[in-house]
């Protein structure tokens, strides 16, 4: 990146760990961020797993309704949202790589890019829902749409929290990782955002693609 001294240790960009953490990872394993964040993340994933199963169960009991309702969803929006979140996750990975190497220009830029992708996702969702509501397809339209709005809505709340996290990391990454806490916050925030992406990766085919 312009304005920064050339560094020869660019191998740090091909390895997510610093040299010290790399040695630790080889022997004991490294939990990215605070262990408590993983308890939350895995718990949240389990809750969504239950939601997915309940949705699929009800779907199996009313297949025709679900198929005809699904046909009213805009697949283009779904694809776009998937690609936006995947791109944002890539940006977060690169932001963490940059932050670990104390790239104080690159790291905030990547977090900013991830934030913008998140904004894009929210915008597409808002457009999609408003279009549906305009045609009278709301939460109580039928069982499929109740699930659709509830699950994508709960996911959307997670995205909002994630945007706050990204904004925080965007600001913090302008400064070097001084204390161990800085690294913990960095990795914890990144882990949360990747979870948001991961959940959408399942929601997308569930609602938009299954025939």
């Amino acid at each position: 990146m312009s304005g920064q001294p050339v560094r020869r240790d660019v191998t740090s960009a091909t390895d997510n760990s610093t040299p010290v953490a790399g040695r630790a990872a080889a022997t004991t394993g490294h939990i990215p961020g605070e262990a408590g964040v993983w308890v939350f993340v895995l718990g949240d994933m389990t809750a969504f797993g239950v939601f997915f199963a309940i949705f699929m169960l009800y779907r199996s009991r009313n297949l025709e309704l679900y198929l005809s309702s699904q046909a009213q969803l805009n697949m283009g929006f779904g694809i776009l949202n998937t690609l936006l979140l995947l791109a944002s996750s890539w940006c977060v990975v690169m932001a963490v790589v940059a932050a670990r190497s104390n790239r104080l220009v690159a790291a905030p830029r990547f977090f900013q890019a991830a934030f913008l992708c998140g904004l894009g996702f929210m915008g597409v969702k808002a457009l999609e829902w408003s279009e549906k509501l305009h045609h009278g397809i709301g939460l109580t339209r039928n069982e499929f749409f109740t699930f659709y709005y509830m699950l994508t809505g709960i996911h959307f709340l997670h995205v909002i929290v994630g945007m706050v996290v990204l904004a925080f990391l965007w600001r913090r990454s302008c400064r070097p990782l001084g204390k161990p806490l800085d690294r913990v916050l960095l990795e914890s925030g990144a882990t949360y955002w990747h979870m948001v992406d991961l959940l959408w990766i399942v929601l997308f085919p569930l609602f938009y693609l299954l025939k």
Partner: protein, 95 residues
């Protein structure tokens, strides 16, 4: 920028994007072309989705560098939730 594009996670992203494209093609284009629901296609789309979650866990969330218990728990989520979802999908029968 080149350093970041050469990062292994970039390859993972390309795989994820490609898998998304493949799923979309099977879900949208193929589904429309054959005109009827196809159990194998749907199961494949779902399986692909859970493979993607596994890739995100391993390579974006760095689980491959994590202690074994975390690897086991996160991997179990993929297998259990994925298995239940695909199983319930096939239970629906025709679709």
């Amino acid at each position: 920028m080149a350093t970041y594009l050469r990062h292994p996670a970039t390859v993972v992203w390309l795989i994820l994007a490609a898998a998304t494209g493949v799923s979309w093609w099977f879900g949208a284009v193929h589904g429309l072309a054959i005109g009827k629901p196809d159990a194998g296609t749907g199961a494949m789309i779902l399986a692909l989705a859970f493979i993607k979650t596994y890739l995100i866990l391993q390579h974006f969330m760095e689980v491959r560098h994590a202690p074994l218990p975390l690897k086991i728990v996160s991997g179990s989520w993929v297998v259990l939730v994925g298995g239940i979802v695909v199983g319930l999908y096939l239970l629906a029968g025709r679709g």
